[in-house]
Amino acid sequence: MSDNLSAQTIRITGQHGEEIEAYLATPAGEASRGGVVVIHHMPGYDRASKEITRRFAELGYDALCPNLHWREAPGAAPDDAAAAARARGGVPDDRLVGDVDGAVEKLRALPTSNGKVGVIGYCSGGRQSVLVACSLPVDAAVDCYGAFVTGEPPEGMPISGNIVDRLPDLRCPLLGLFGNEDRYPSPEHVDELEQILKANGKDFEFHRYDGAGHGFFAVDREMYRVAAANDGWERIESFFARTLGD
C-alpha cells in the first residue's frame, strides 16, 4: 500500500461500443495487481465517488469509476447529469451491465493487471454490483446497502423488481455491508438474501452494523457513521486482498 498514485479522466467503451467517460486511479509502479470497478450512487459521478476510487488506488488496486450518466449529460456537472438521467428514466439495468463490462475489460487490459477484477457499489450501486456479479465474469463483488436485491419495491416504484431470480447466477464471492437501521434494505431483506445465498451454496460474507442506517459510508452526508464506515473499509480491504490478490 502506498499513497503514491495518479488519477485521470479517460474514455472507455461501454454498452454497444459507445464511448463513455470514466475516472481511473492507479498506484505508482508496475507491480501486478487487481482492479476494482466503483459503481457510483444515484446522485452521480461525484467528488465522493472519485475519492472512493482514489482510495482503492491507495490500497494497491487499479480502480475505475465509469460515469453512468455520461450519455444523458456529457461534460455536465455531476449533480446536473444525475438530474438529467433521472428525468429520462434513470440508468437501465442492461446498460449498466454493458458499461461495467467495458470498465472490467479496460482494467484487465492494463499492463499491471493480474487478471482479477472486483466490483463495488453503494446505495443503488449496491444492487447494481450484485447484478453485475450475476452477469459478468468478475472475481469479487461488494454490495453496500443496495435496496431491492431482495424484497419487493413499493407499489408505483419504476424499478424493475428485485433480482432474486438472478442470484443463482452469482459467480463470485460477495461481501455485503448493511446498517441495521436501514429500511431498504431492511434487516429482513438482508436475512432473505442470506438465506437465498446459503441455499444456493454461494461464497458470501455479510456484516451488519448497529447504530447505522443507509449510506453510512458517505462522509459528506448526515448518514455517515464513522464506526460502521471504518469497520466496513477494513472488511473491504481484507475481502479484496483475499479475492483479488496474486
Partner: protein
C-alpha cells in the same frame, strides 16, 4: 435508499439559474430521494429545467418533507387568493 420514483410535469415560465441568468423553463421533475446538498437523508427534490438548454439549465430545490408540504400549501394559498380571471 434511492427511491427511483420520479414525477414529471410540463411547466411554462421562467427561472433564474446558473450565472444569474433568467431562462425559459419547460419541464419539472419532482422526486423524494437523497439530496446533493441538504443535510437530510432524503429530501423532496424539484428540478425546474429547460432540457433544450442542456443539463445545467435547471433550478434545483432540496426540501425536507415538511418544508415541501408547506411550499405546496403556500403555492395553493397564493393561487386561491387571486381573482379567477387573472389566472392563466
Amino acid at each position: 435508499m434511492c427511491t427511483y420514483n420520479t414525477v414529471r410535469t410540463e411547466v411554462d415560465g421562467s427561472a433564474k439559474g446558473p450565472h444569474g441568468k433568467w431562462f425559459h423553463v419547460t419541464d419539472a421533475t419532482v422526486y423524494y430521494d437523497h439530496p446533493v446538498h441538504a443535510m437530510a437523508a432524503h429530501t423532496l427534490n424539484i428540478d425546474v429545467a429547460d432540457p433544450a438548454g442542456g443539463p445545467s439549465a435547471r433550478v434545483a430545490l432540496e426540501l425536507t418533507a415538511t418544508a415541501a408540504r408547506a411550499l405546496a400549501t403556500a403555492i395553493e394559498d397564493a393561487l386561491v387568493a387571486v381573482p379567477e380571471d387573472l389566472l392563466t
